[in-house]
């Protein structure tokens, strides 16, 4: 099979560089001692009281974030998908905004919102709340998209048979969305497990660690890289396990009752509850969007952010400082854009080729390629960074100190998202069209150029945008991999946070949000639908 060869070489090479080398080194270092293999690092890690506490904190955080996300996301999804609550489009838009808001920016904004007396925020419940308001969109997406696919006829049948509204919801609707709910819960838990920025901003001041912040602090001088490696493994295993669980949940229950777009979906009238329901939605969204964005904008233009925005307090000084006096800013913006564009272009090209190959079953073992492209999803950013750090600070490949190590991290991290998008694109292009071309005598390349490529274009551009958005907000891997010459915006923001430079952070935060929303707008224009998945 000569045509399979290049694809295989490409995939194998990518796999080695992106996954096998970093994770191999990670595993090896976690058991390597001065005299051969040892479990000493694991023993050190799991007998250390502080580290055990960090592990427990992470479990508590992730579990509660999962629950709160379900509590917020599921009702919102139901309201916008099934009822006549006013402003459904607006609510969807706001959920989308919360989805793409970098969680560490939200956490940072809340530090300002809650102060003075930010005591409530610097606690475990505070952390859970603030992580959840940026994580619930995962539940929302799963549930809303499922509800949009379930026809109302089953519910109506139950109603005709005499079931009350509550009984219908409990016995018909709920079982049908249960897999989506559970899988949304797991996605939210996974997000919380892997998160670095929010715990670093909110948990550290309160005097507690999570696994991710603990791994990061193990890198402080004198570095304990072996312990960091040993501490990364449980996080890796937990993620892999949870994802497997999610897959099984979705697989076993299936959407047997979900009959495509055929059936009718009737909107449920809320009656006098319409406006209160809207109020509740907006209350959630003001916690996630209005208030945080507002305080960022205020702090960006204020001399003293804690004081009212009077004429005397108004200034452009934060902007001049950020862009013209602070030398690190412009370099960081350039680095971020460079990495964003580079990763998005190369990533989009890779996922396009890979998903085309797997969808059209062009080579033997295409399932394996699909699996490998999705595999990085189990690797939390911090863990990936530990692996990359170990693998690429030593010969033969010394990439630490260059943008390449960040590029590898981003490409690996964003590969699954990009692949999923590209895969969906090719799946939606029926092979019949290509076959028709074939019957009319066109070669494969010509078919690709004249039939497949034009149809796939917008989907691949969307993949490009998803990767780009993921890259510009990335913090958890960057924080271990940057050097002074390869700082990116998120790292600069984090640096400034440690120093308490609120004005400059707000300015950079606004820049990051502007970039993100510009990209989102591009996707929506290209796809003709919103990023959350349903058609407008």
């Amino acid at each position: 099979m000569d045509r399979a060869l290049p694809v295989w070489i490409l995939s194998a090479l990518a796999l080695v560089v992106l996954m096998a080398l970093p994770l191999g080194w990670l595993g090896w270092l976690s058991v390597s001692g001065e005299h051969g293999a040892t479990l000493a690092h694991y023993r050190d890690v799991f007998t250390d009281l502080a580290l055990r506490k960090a592990l427990w904190n992470t479990i508590v955080l992730a579990f509660w974030v999962g629950l709160v996300s379900v509590a917020l996301g599921a009702p919102l999804a139901w309201l916008t998908a099934r009822t006549d609550v006013p402003g459904r489009g607006l609510i969807r838009g706001l959920v989308l905004a919360s989805f793409v808001t970098p969680p560490f920016l939200g956490a940072f904004a809340w530090v300002m919102l809650a102060g003075p007396n930010a005591g409530l925020i610097f606690t475990m419940p505070g952390l859970i709340f603030i992580v959840s308001i940026y994580t619930f969109p995962y539940v929302y997406i799963m549930v809303a998209n499922t509800l949009a696919l379930i026809a109302s006829d089953l519910e109506e049948a139950a109603a005709i048979l005499g079931a009350g509204r509550f009984a219908v919801a409990r016995t018909v609707t709920l079982p049908m969305v249960l897999p989506a709910l559970a899988s949304g819960f797991i996605l939210a838990v996974l997000q919380a497990l892997a998160l670095f920025g929010s715990p670093a901003i909110l948990a550290l001041p309160a005097g507690f660690h999570t696994v991710t912040t603990q791994i990061w602090s193990l890198f402080q001088f004198p570095p304990k890289v072996e312990q960091a490696a040993a501490f990364s493994i449980p996080l890796l295993l937990a993620t892999a396990l949870l994802l497997q669980l999610q897959k099984q949940l979705l697989g076993r229950r299936g959407y047997a009752a979900v009959g495509g777009k055929g059936g009718q979906r009737r909107t449920i009238p809320l009656g006098r509850w319409r406006w209160p329901a809207l109020g509740a939605c907006l209350a959630v969204m003001s916690c996630a969007i209005f208030m945080p964005y507002g305080v960022l904008a205020k702090a960006a233009f204020a001399r003293a952010w804690a004081q009212p925005l009077t004429r005397d307090n108004l200034t452009l000084g934060n902007f001049t400082f950020t862009f013209f006096e602070y030398g690190a800013t412009r370099a960081a913006i350039v680095n971020t854009l460079e990495l964003g564009v580079m990763t998005a272009c190369i990533g989009a090209a890779m996922v396009a080729v890979l998903s085309y190959v797997t969808n059209r079953k062009l080579v033997a073992g295409h399932q394996l390629i699909a699996f490998l492209a999705l595999a990085p999803v189990v690797v939390p950013g911090v863990v990936l960074a530990v692996g990359l750090f170990i693998a690429y600070t030593r010969p033969p490949f010394v990439l630490y100190g260059t943008l390449w190590i960040l590029f590898l991290a981003y490409l690996t991290k964003e590969m699954p998202v990009g692949y999923a998008q590209a895969d969906a694109t090719f799946r939606a292009i029926p092979a019949d069209l290509e076959d028709a071309g074939r019957v009319l005598g066109a070669g494969r390349l010509r078919i690709l150029r004249e039939i497949t490529a034009p149809l796939a274009k917008s989907g691949i551009i969307a993949a490009w945008c998803f990767i780009f958005i993921g890259v510009i907000r990335e913090l958890s891997a960057s924080i271990l991999l940057f050097t002074p010459n390869t700082k990116v915006m998120s790292v600069v923001i984090f640096d400034l946070k440690e120093e308490g430079q609120f004005g400059a952070i707000s300015v950079l935060g606004l820049v990051m949000l502007a970039l993100t929303f510009a990209t989102v707008a591009l996707v929506q224009a290209v796809l003709g639908r919103d990023v959350l998945g349903a058609r407008r």
Binding site: F219, F221, P484, E498, E499, G500
Partner: protein, 345 residues
């Protein structure tokens, strides 16, 4: 002939002197490193000096020597050491001048042969506490750790007067501390207070449930915003600057003594821009720059001719608690570990 040459030399020297005075606004005699520094084009400065101050020093230097740029990388002292060591591990030679507030770092770096011996112009007149006996590093600036409180919520009468006052349970949940795992100013502070009151002091202090921030500049910002009302430590210079800007802040210099933090600077042995590093180091020790640090940043310096704002206590009037760089280096791990043990993170 001979005489005319020496006359010529004298005139040239004088002209050069005058030119130097004019170009650098009276700051410089022409520096012997200038020519080579120009060729190198830039100097890379890892510094723990608070960001706006660091950028100001850089700007002053670039105004005096337009051909040599300063690349400022500001972060906490401990992060700087971490960075330097991580980069060396990957064989990256990036930094020219290292400036942190943890004097212990310089003992370690010197021992590992990572510092170049260099005596900046004019430091002979500095007091002994600002000079390494082997000539590798010199104190660029100094500050003390002080208590600050929010004057809107705490009256002068209620305010803590001593370090021990902070143990009072009435402050529970109302105080903030910076972190010795980030800041050299705080590492020095913790060691000095351990000398004074023992680890027990911190154990008891932790009972009051403090908010933890990283940088020694941050406690006073937290207090001025009202998020907490008392800062149990922090660089007095950043508190002084905030107070000057009109924030509701008062500084207390406890009677038991205030931990003195002298922040050294040194040139690395592997500096990619060694001449620019020397030029920059000389520049930062000139009276002009040292005076700027005193005036606009509220810092103390070792320069004998520097004058201080009238509303700031003189160093000689304060009871100073000092620690040696050697002990700081030796007990660095212990300081961080026990602090984390008591305060949680």
């Amino acid at each position: 002939m001979r005489r005319s040459i020496s006359a010529l030399v004298a005139v040239a020297t004088l002209a050069a002197l005058v030119a130097g005075l004019v170009t650098a606004g009276g700051a410089q005699t022409p520096n012997r490193h200038l020519e080579t520094a120009r060729k190198e084009g830039k100097v890379v400065w890892y510094t723990s000096l608070v960001l706006p101050s660091a950028e100001r020093v850089a700007k002053l230097f670039e105004t005096a020597y337009p051909d040599v740029k300063v690349e400022v990388h500001r972060t906490g002292s401990q992060r700087i050491l971490q960075r330097v060591m991580q980069e060396l591990q990957a064989n990256i030679k990036n930094v020219d001048v290292v400036h942190t507030s943890d004097a212990g770092h310089y003992v370690l770096l010197k021992e590992k042969k990572l510092l170049a011996k260099y005596t900046p112009a004019g430091v002979d007149a500095f007091p002994a506490g600002f000079k390494d006996k082997d000539g590798y590093y010199y104190g660029l600036r100094a500050t003390v750790n002080a208590i600050t409180y929010n004057t809107k919520t705490v009256s002068a009468a209620e305010a803590p007067k001593t370090w021990k006052d902070l143990l009072d349970p009435k402050w529970k949940g109302k105080m903030v501390t910076a972190h010795p795992g980030y800041s050299g100013v705080i590492a020095t502070h913790v060691l000095a207070l351990v000398h004074l009151h023992g680890w027990d002091y911190f154990k008891q202090l932790a009972q009051n449930q403090l908010m933890l921030v990283q940088s020694a500049n941050d406690p006073s910002t937290v207090v001025s915003s009202g998020e907490r009302v008392v800062a149990v430590n922090g660089g007095e210079y950043s508190a002084y600057q905030l107070k000057k800007k009109g924030n509701p802040l008062e500084i207390v210099y406890p009677k038991e003594g205030v931990p003195l933090v002298v922040s050294p600077t040194a040139i690395t042995s592997f500096a990619p821009h060694p001449s620019a590093a020397r030029l920059f180091t000389d520049f930062t020790f000139t009276r002009e720059v040292q005076q700027v640090m005193a005036d606009s940043e509220g810092l103390y310096t070792g320069h004998p001719d520097v004058t201080y704002p009238a509303d700031k206590p003189k160093l000689k009037d304060l009871k100073l608690l000092t620690v040696t760089p050697e002990e700081l280096e030796k007990r660095n791990e212990e300081l961080k570990k026990r602090f984390v043990e008591f305060f949680g993170a």
